[in-house]
């Protein structure tokens, strides 16, 4: 049974995305769970205040108790009463390279996660399902590592200057030409930090009097960059092209709020793969809308570059589109390339402008040379220019792993969000207690996963997130699936009702209200 896809002619391949709705019983139980935790939180706070229980939080000094309080302790309520109970699922120290398997330091807590002590034992060989290691370039041996070590001995580790002063190495120029060739754009510029790429460059592109249309679930770096720029921000429903088109039409018809003047620029901010949902942006439709309403597109390919597409060139390659249609292509080297930093690619005039006017270029130190060499070697490997077929094999292996893993999890009966082809697999947990239980049970079985709950996700959508890698062998995946199956039976996580026709749109409330800026 197939849904009729809107604008089906734009897609050259089937676009299968599903977000199964929360079952009502599960939602009610989740709210009850949070309610019970809240009541117990109030009880514990009461006992701490009346000194029946020892308060292990940071408190004001005795001499300053009569002053106006420095912190509002209600703002810490969730941290104290919910997060502390399951805190051992986060910030786990690892002590090896985060490849397909990782070594973790074992820690125990004798006072319910307020303090941790290390037992001294190292848990070896934990299957790593949490690192953004899509193509497996997080290695400590291999061609990338050898090249990076050579450059380290030649150039040193630090650059000690910004790009505009003395920090522009020939390695940076080589990298930028290579990245531009990889993406298929005219020119590119690289920065030392991926978050800073977004937050420092969006203010250089738009300002007051411009309009930013940003997706509901955009990353914090995009939101920060949009706020710093001073432009008006309007949010459209996640991956919903009707919502985006409505906003575009309203913007063009009504113009700026009071003066009705036309907007100076309209910039659409989307991401390639959304890291918490596993959904892929509907890029053909976004580009069609952009062309129809004459606005600009900023595509953040942090998670999709290297991970999608038959040649590993990202979401533009995945849909078979022309990279010149995207005005600003941004991405990071942190995920698929095993390095650090970000890039922006586009037309030569745009990149030349950014070289002068971007905060990152003027004030931030440029990328360190061994990191640059790691990126150069890994990009050449993916493109196949170093003569071997390792890169292409890895891209294909990642696609196979993704399909296999998702299919098996769906067959087992878990609710999985997102697109069939995205290597990020969110598995829904829903209830607050299951968040902690899932993380701990998986670690007992030597598998490391990342779990997230409220308020980082909506209240009834806590999840565990698996990030697949090309270096996960089929045995590792099978073992992970077996353990997830066991834990799923133990914690009763198999909520899916195997609807024949999956919901194509993410379930959202009919009307939502935005914060008004006054």
């Amino acid at each position: 049974v197939n849904h009729i896809v809107h604008n089906g002619g734009l897609y050259k391949r089937p676009f299968n995305e599903a977000f199964e709705e929360t079952p009502m019983l599960v939602a009610v139980l989740t709210y009850l769970g949070y309610g019970v935790l809240t009541l117990f939180g109030y009880l514990r706070d009461f006992m701490r205040q009346w000194k029946i229980e020892k308060c292990q939080n940071a408190t004001e000094r005795e001499e300053q108790k009569d002053f106006v309080p420095l912190y509002q302790d209600f703002e810490n309520f969730y941290t104290r009463n919910l997060y502390m109970r399951i805190r051992d699922s986060w910030n786990r120290p690892i002590c090896s390279v985060p490849g397909a398997k990782v070594d973790m330091m074992e820690r125990v807590s004798h006072d319910y996660n307020w303090t941790f002590t290390y037992t001294g034992r190292v848990i070896k060989g934990v299957i790593n399902m949490g690192s953004y290691n899509y193509l497996g370039f997080a290695q400590k041996a291999g061609t990338c590592q050898k090249a990076a070590a050579k450059v380290l001995s030649q150039y040193g580790a630090g650059v000690c200057s910004t790009r505009q002063e003395m920090g522009n190495l020939d390695k940076h120029e080589e990298l930028e030409k290579l990245v531009a060739r990889f993406l298929g754009v005219e020119s590119a510029m690289t920065y030392g930090m991926g978050f800073a790429t977004n937050s420092m460059n969006i203010p250089a592109l738009v300002g007051k009097g411009c309009l930013i249309l940003s997706d509901e679930l955009n990353h914090a770096s995009l939101v920060l960059g949009a706020r710093l720029s001073g432009a008006t921000i309007r949010i459209f429903k996640h991956n919903n092209m009707q919502s985006l088109e409505k906003l575009l039409k309203d913007a063009i018809v009504h113009g700026q709020p009071r003066t009705r003047r036309p907007w100076k620029k309209i910039l659409i901010l989307v991401e390639g793969i959304y890291s918490m949902e596993g959904s892929i942006v509907r890029l053909p439709e976004v580009i069609a809308l952009k062309k129809k309403y004459k606005s600009y597109l900023y595509l953040d390919e942090a998670h999709s570059i290297g991970a999608l597409g038959p040649r590993g060139r990202g979401v533009v390659d995945y849909f078979g589109l022309n990279p010149e249609d995207v005005d600003v292509m941004m991405g990071t080297f942190t995920k698929s390339f095993g390095a650090a930093g970000g890039y922006i690619g586009g037309k030569k005039e745009l990149i030349d402008y950014l070289r002068i006017c971007s905060h990152s270029a003027v004030y931030a130190t440029s990328m360190s040379p061994p990191v640059v060499e790691q990126i150069i070697t890994s990009v050449k490997c993916i493109m196949g220019e170093d003569g071997a077929t390792v890169g292409k094999a890895r891209v294909q292996q990642l696609a196979e792993n993704t399909r296999y893993f998702r299919r098996r999890l769906k067959e087992m009966g878990f609710i999985i969000y997102g697109n069939e082809d995205s290597p990020i697999v969110p598995l829904m947990l829903y209830m607050p207690a299951k968040i902690g239980a899932f993380g701990r049970e998986m670690l007992k079985r030597n598998i490391g996963v990342v779990v997230v709950g409220f308020p980082a996700t909506p209240i009834i959508e806590s999840r565990a997130r698996f990030c697949l890698s090309a270096t996960h062998t089929k045995e590792m995946l099978d073992r992970t699936l077996k353990e997830v199956d066991e834990v799923g039976d133990l914690l009763q996580l198999k909520y899916s009702r195997h609807r024949l026709v999956p919901l194509l749109d993410r379930p959202f409330d009919e009307t939502t209200y935005e914060e008004t800026e006054d």
Binding site: M24, V28, Q72, E75, A220, I460, D509, Y513, E515
Partner: protein
Amino acid sequence: MNVGVAHSEVNPNTRVMNSRGMWLTYALGVGLLHIVLLSIPFFSVPVAWTLTNVIHNLGMYVFLHAVKGTPFETPDQGKARLLTHWEQLDYGVQFTSSRKFFTISPIILYFLASFYTKYDSTHFILNTASLLTVLIPKLPQLHGVRIFGINKY
């Protein structure tokens, strides 16, 4: 920004009451409270209904109109720190569906309690007073108003 937050919602508290299943959970919670009170052998049916009404209104007053701010840090530089949960709902837009639902439900409970107490005068006074404590703060004219400076900071 809160690290690791997966959405650009500034204050998640504004959307909590609109989420799927919240109204049903609330109705079930009130029902459970009533059944527990009815099961206590010392309370007659009118007393149980009045107690349900009063305890429900007390709980609603405390959680929606007395407690201020959010139990987590929000990136809005403290705009919601002095607002009660009712004032934070939907960023202060009045007459949204959640607000209508939570205004009507104590009224329905009041009707039921009046019927089951056979309009006896003591019960009537108690129920009406308790209904007023929970209806008056919901009026749009009282948005952000703190009478006599109570609960201001």
